[in-house]
Symmetry: C2
Subunit: 360 residues, 2 copies
DNA sequence: CTGAAAGCGCTTACAG
DNA sequence: CTGAAAGCGCTTACAG
């Protein structure tokens, strides 16, 4: 039995203490307890102290359900992680894990709790969090097909649900989106591969508007090829969702096609790592025979051998911005979509000049 | 304006619909709405249908705050992630990330929401979740110093807070703990290194009772050495918390000590990866000059070169068990601490016989 | 099977 | 600066 329990037992109470118990102990009314604990300026310093020590003595905590009900808010943000239903369920994409970490931190810093939920895009999740007041706002995260599911976002807007979305920032999208400059990232990587002397650069990833982020990266790739006067060869493109397995298989497809390539730009690091495995199995050296680059800079990217050239998205900043923008919306202020800068991380996997410099 | 809004505007309502609105539309009393929606067997099939379609028409969702307040529960579990305050804050330990994924999935499967929060052990978090009824129970996760903070756990028990803890399973601990067989894991790895012909095996990690998991792994290491008739040399031990940086530095310390070693057992994969970098910088080949093994089998473990020998903890099963045991406690049933089996994953980093088999 | 009533534990306008 | 009163939106024993 701890001190608080003993004190309460002495006072003849059972169960958790309520604000009435504190009021009784402090010799004030129950509303005064509420005011004192919420830091209202209406309460005298001396009363506040009495209330506070009574609350501590009984181990009292404000009941969130009651408080939220009365105040009509929840002090909670919901993070919805959308996963491709076809993806391997045992591991979450490390990139989103990293985002999750920074979002958790950012919302804690702002005094909000974070509710986490995995969702399928197909399900009817749009009213599950804001509708029932479990959360004041929603953060949407995931490589998703926002084109087919645009109606869900529009429903959120129509409902007046506050939400922000991580993903491609494109004109005319419902709600607020925050994402990195995928187009620029794609152009930078491809430009770098061109500089390395690559001439037949393949693209791995679903380049349809159904995967807007990949699509933007692809557009950057095309732009860089154009700028270098290189043709865009459709046989050098293979679809892949963002998994290692898909990258592996897309590379096999490409190899089977017998269309020669000297570089591979994978739309994500996971795809790139799968590609690396397929290339090695096929007896091709990276970067000796094929230069390779990915996107995201997930933690493994620097640990694979050769270390993977990729595009860094600042997840720390992204998490802060997502929470920040969502809170603006919750507080009735305006928030604009925005695009974050990216950074090219050149590592060994794309450095064709390195050939022979190390005994590998 | 969506259909639900239009319907409600027609009915002259503003704001979210309540159970009274549904009652009105369905032509029943408000309590009947509540019963119908909660699936009470007292409601006739026909009434239920009327209520349900009214609820759908108005886009009604039960207000969780009100429902929780009345029912005195929250339908939510809290996951508290303890991080070493000295650790690098930009990345979360991948092992815990993996646990987080499986816990999220398991609690969703059981119909519970999951609240996530990062905590410092030193802070006064014990009443922050259960005390204020934000969560029905708590899951504790993190390489923590449970010895110094044992009083916190005891406070939880005294309060009657339902909680389960991931970590070392030792006799006499407050509450329910679930963890893997760290002792066996340590013994298996060390035994394997001995089999590979290693005779001077160093241990990297804080082996004090303050890190009970590492301590158990260390005890397994000692046991395996004893079984092989090898001495336990204190100069072959260097403290490290579970970060890459700490592993890097501990290895440097070891190297500076000038006590020869032919193998390194790191108490975690992160430590092992840091160690690998230090060894390479020092001109030592892995596994040629020094065999290396870690613990956890985080995703990078199979991607570093050479791939890292380690001990697999089944995070999927662990997450399920943590949630399962916590729900047992919440439902007033009993739950016992338990230990999960581990699996040795032999990869190249420890295969000294491999020397020369590949041109690396 | 259904309704009228009470109450979960707070917060906040209102009155003093 | 403080208290009495009302009410947030449900759920559930009680009565019929």
């Amino acid at each position: 039995m701890c001190a608080a329990e003993r004190a309460r037992a002495a006072a003849g109470m059972k169960g958790k203490a309520t604000s009435f118990d504190i009021a009784h102990l402090a010799g004030v009314s129950q509303p005064t307890v509420s005011r004192a604990l919420r830091g209202s300026p209406l309460v005298s310093e001396e009363t506040r102290r009495r209330v506070q020590s009574a609350a501590e003595a009984l181990g009292y905590k404000v009941d969130k359900n009651a408080s939220n009900l009365r105040r009509q808010h929840s002090g909670t943000l919901a993070l919805l992680l959308f996963e491709d239903p076809t993806a391997d369920h045992s591991h979450i994409n490390p990139f989103f894990l990293s985002m999750l970490g920074s979002i958790t931190r950012a919302s804690a810093q702002q005094g909000y709790d974070l509710l986490i939920s995995f969702q399928q895009f197909s399900r009817d999740w749009h009213a599950d969090f804001a509708g029932c007041k479990k959360a004041d706002g929603i953060i949407l995260l995931g490589y998703g097909d926002y084109q087919s599911h645009r109606d869900k976002l529009e429903k959120l807007v129509a409902q007046g649900t506050r939400f922000v979305r991580w993903g491609a920032v494109l004109p005319g999208q419902p709600g607020v989106s925050i994402g990195c400059d995928n187009f620029l990232g794609g152009r930078m990587v491809t430009g770098h591969l061109v500089e390395q002397g690559c001439r037949r650069i393949a693209f791995l990833g679903d380049a349809t508007p159904h995967y807007p982020e990949f699509h933007e990266r692809y557009r950057g790739y095309v732009e860089a090829l154009r700028a270098a006067g290189l043709p865009v060869d459709e046989t050098l493109r293979a679809d892949a969702e963002s998994t290692e397995r898909a990258g592996y298989e897309a590379t096999k497809t490409l190899l089977a096609r017998d269309a020669a390539f000297d570089a591979l730009f994978a739309a994500s690091d996971l795809i790139a790592i799968g590609a690396m495995r397929a290339l090695v199995e096929h007896g091709l050296g990276v970067p000796r025979d094929v230069a390779l680059a990915g996107f995201d800079d997930i933690p493994v990217a620097s640990f694979v051998r050769p270390a993977l050239t990729t595009v860094l998205q600042d997840t720390g900043r992204a998490g802060e911005l997502l929470v920040d923008h969502l809170l603006r919306l919750i507080h009735g202020r305006s928030a604009e979509s925005m695009m974050l800068p990216v950074e090219l991380k050149v590592r060994q996997s794309s450095l064709r000049m390195m050939r022979g410099r190390r005994a590998r």
